[in-house]
């Protein structure tokens, strides 16, 4: 089923998608309508244009492919499913996602993967092809963040304060240089190829979705970032 996205109010568009009697819904010419996919169940959405903020919020049992860029808070608190973006992502990409996978071909904005967490069999994965802004993985409590840094040379492809407040999960960052001024509570080490088995399938998917050679990914080192031990929050208080 195909829906024309031009000149349609976001609430009406989302209603049309929810009510569509088809498992695959294509929307053309999207012009910034928000919340697409929020509360939708059991559908594949193919989106052309630029969806607005909070695309795929609380996503459950649904897949989304976007041919275009996306805006902020994509996949906010998503539970499962897949979001594939053939373009760039915005700020707070994957906010508090607890399951599912997001692939962004290009860059991400600020606070990508903030509050990401994992739970039981749910382990969210977020793969960004280019670079991301500051505060990557802020308060990260679980899941896997991958930044491939494609097109970035001789600089670490994240902004400042990477991993601030991180207390769980893991980041894999591809870069020809190690991070400058890493935060003291993080453990950072360069990976050997066998350390990458965990993310291998996701890189494979990234390459096949966006037509990129896998060899071009593994031609640079990856840095693995995890939170160090010790819980400094518990020691800053005095009972009164």
């Amino acid at each position: 089923m195909i829906i024309e996205g031009k000149d349609i109010y976001f609430a009406d568009l989302n209603k049309a998608i929810k009510q569509a009697d088809a498992s695959e819904v294509t929307v053309n010419n999207i012009i910034g309508q928000r919340y697409i996919g929020s509360g939708v169940q059991g559908k594949n959405l193919i989106l052309h244009g630029t969806p607005g903020n909070a695309l795929g919020a609380y996503l459950d049992n649904c897949n989304i492919t976007v041919y275009g860029n996306v805006q902020d808070a994509v996949g906010d608190t998503m539970n499962n499913g897949e979001i594939i973006v053939h373009g760039n992502g915005g700020d707070t990409l994957g906010y508090a996602m607890r399951g599912g996978v997001i692939y962004v071909k290009g860059n991400g904005g600020y606070r990508v993967g903030i509050h990401m967490k994992e739970y039981q069999e749910n382990k969210p994965v977020l793969v960004v092809g280019g670079r991301v802004g500051s505060f990557l993985g802020e308060y990260q409590a679980g899941g896997i963040l991958v930044v491939l840094g494609l097109g970035v040379d001789n600089s670490f492809p994240t902004g400042n304060y990477c991993g601030t407040g991180m207390h769980g999960g893991v980041m894999y960052i591809r870069s020809d240089v190690p991070p400058q001024n890493p935060l003291p509570h993080l453990l950072i080490r360069e990976c050997a190829r066998e350390d990458l088995t965990e993310i291998q399938p996701f890189i494979k998917n990234y390459c096949s979705y966006f037509n990129i050679l896998e060899a071009d990914i593994f031609n640079k080192p990856f840095y693995k970032i995890t939170p160090g031990g010790g819980n400094h929050y518990n020691t800053i208080y005095a009972h009164n």
């Binding site: 609430a11 989302n14 929810k18 928000r34 919340y35 929020s38 509360g39 903020n53 909070a54 919020a57 609380y58 459950d60 902020d72 808070a73 906010d76 608190t77 539970n79 700020d91 707070t92 906010y95 508090a96 607890r98 606070r111 903030i114 509050h115 967490k117 994992e118 739970y119 749910n122 505060f135 802020e138 308060y139 409590a141 679980g142 407040g165 207390h167 769980g168 819980n231 929050y233 518990n234 020691t235 800053i236 208080y237 005095a238 009972h239 009164n240």
Partner: protein, 501 residues
């Protein structure tokens, strides 16, 4: 080891004539104050650990115990009181940020106690609530300014989603994790029986409690714990937590050691991992951004659930509330600075925010002035202590109130204010199984139902006395209030006259 400067705050006084050495106190005290000395065949007390929770006193079968505040005093003066000095000692000892629980114990003015309620004499007869009809039901949500009908008198207007309450009282947000499973069960069951709502707080919803969904408000905070589609659709409404009265500008942090198996399941995070819910929602930097979160929740629930935005009462609360009323929220909940908490930095709790009475009066007036009062309902909390506080709050403009501390007191809390240690002897603010089972949800819910029904009856009596027969007619009816011992400025903010005027 350095000297401990702090003299024990309480003395455990044991009447040796009455004590039968049954050791019940020893078993009851999670703070390990009492112990039995085999050699001398007597009970001993480690007084420095006592928090005056009164558990041992209540359970002692021979009334042999009492806990008294020590009369040992430092050489205090008006400026340097004992508490102030002890806080310095504590910080000098540990280098730590002081952490406290429950509402501020400081002696700030309580304006509810400076407001008096009217009653009818002669001209407008009182109503007898026992024998005459009286309406305590309220609906929370956006109210339409006009209704449209078609030619057959069928309603055309779409009524925005509402919460229906049998009485204008709800249990405020207390998360599973900060309070126990049995405390949550008690609240859920009581809310269902009373036809009101309890609030999950930001800790998610236990599977066993989905059955009480119609009487549940589910909360969404910055950490998004336990938030997923079923959760959002499970409740009667969704509350976005922007702030909390006891700690405005400060977020929540449940340490990993309190995240055991069951708490981890409702929060949907692994066992033992810290649950950090910072004050900022990093996707909300403006009213427009707030609108975005509100509508993403509305989209996820097909516009069937009212959305509440909860904020702390702070200096600019009226302007903030005006923004929220325009953001698409259905209900604004305001939490005053005397509100309770499972843990808050002492300095924040005791110094940040404003009393709910002032915040409520300012917000209600501002929304009226801007002609948007009907766009939202107002719910207030932050130390509503009795039914008279409820009546005063409603007459100042609230649609309903939230009670937290009062509800915990009904469950057995004795306000020892040490919830943050996780060793609540009353089975409320703890996750220790042996302590949790001290709170029986059957008894707990009964006590809550008793409390709120009694208040409701008192509210009706006070309304009847004023010749008012519905909450709707009391709402914002400031003519029914008079101030006592207030300055002209205070009276102006409350929009009420002084007693005698």
């Amino acid at each position: 080891m350095s000297i401990n400067f702090i003299y024990p705050e309480y003395e455990v006084v044991r009447n040796e004539k009455r004590c039968i050495k049954c050791r019940a106190c020893e078993r009851q005290c999670a703070n390990e104050v009492h112990s039995y000395d085999q050699e001398f065949d007597c009970m001993e007390a480690q007084e420095s650990q006592c928090v005056d929770c009164q558990r041992c006193v209540t359970l002692c079968p021979t009334n042999a115990l009492k806990i008294v505040k020590t009369n040992n005093r430092y050489r205090e003066n008006a400026n340097w009181q004992q508490q102030t000095m002890e806080e310095i000692f504590r910080q000098a000892d540990t280098g730590g940020v002081l952490l406290s629980s429950m509402g501020t114990p400081k002696d700030y003015p309580n304006y509810f106690d400076k407001i008096l309620i009217n009653a009818s004499q002669v001209t407008n007869p009182p109503i007898d609530p026992l024998r005459e009809p009286m309406e305590s039901k309220v609906f929370l949500g956006k109210k339409l300014n006009k209704l449209e009908f078609d030619e057959n008198d069928e309603l055309l207007s779409e009524i925005p989603p509402q919460i229906e309450l049998e009485m204008p009282i709800m249990f405020s947000a207390m998360s599973y994790g900060s309070i126990s499973e049995n405390a949550h069960k008690s609240l859920a069951r009581a809310a269902t029986e009373l036809g009101i709502c309890y609030n999950t707080g930001e800790g998610g919803l236990n599977q066993d409690l989905y059955q009480y969904g119609a009487n549940t408000i589910v909360q969404v905070a910055s950490g998004r714990f336990g938030v997923h589609r079923d959760y959002l659709n499970a409740g009667a409404a969704i509350e976005i937590k922007m702030g909390q009265g006891a700690k405005p500008g400060i977020g929540g942090h449940l340490p990993g050691k309190k995240i055991q198996e069951k708490v981890s399941r409702t929060r949907m995070i692994p066992v033992g991992v810290d649950a950090i819910s910072p004050a900022p929602h990093h996707d909300i930097y403006s009213i427009e951004d707030l609108r975005q979160l509100i509508f993403s929740l509305k989209e996820a629930t097909n516009y069937k659930k009212p959305v509440i935005v909860k904020i702390a009462a702070v200096h600019n609360v009226a302007a903030i509330a005006s923004g929220i009323a325009r953001s698409g929220a259905d209900i604004i909940s305001i939490d005053g600075f005397r509100g309770g908490t499972g843990a808050a930095p002492t300095r924040i709790r005791d110094n940040v925010g404003i009393p709910i009475e002032l915040a409520l009066a300012a917000v209600d007036q501002r929304l009226r002035d801007e002609k948007i009062r009907n766009d939202v309902s107002i719910v207030v909390g932050g130390s509503i202590r009795n039914s008279a506080d409820v009546v005063k709050a409603i007459a100042l403009g609230a649609d309903a109130v939230y009670i937290g501390t009062a509800a915990l007191l009904a469950l057995g809390c004795h306000l020892c204010r040490t919830c943050h240690t996780g060793k609540c002897n009353w089975g409320i603010a703890t996750q220790r199984e042996d302590l949790v089972k001290r709170l029986n949800p059957d008894i707990g819910s009964r006590r809550l139902v008793n409390l709120v029904s009694a208040w409701n009856h008192e509210i009706m009596e006070m309304m009847g006395g004023m010749g008012i027969n519905s909450i709707e007619a009391l709402k914002g009816n400031r003519l029914m209030l008079r101030g006592i011992g207030m300055s002209a400025k205070e009276l102006e903010i409350f929009g009420i006259a002084h007693a005698g005027e």
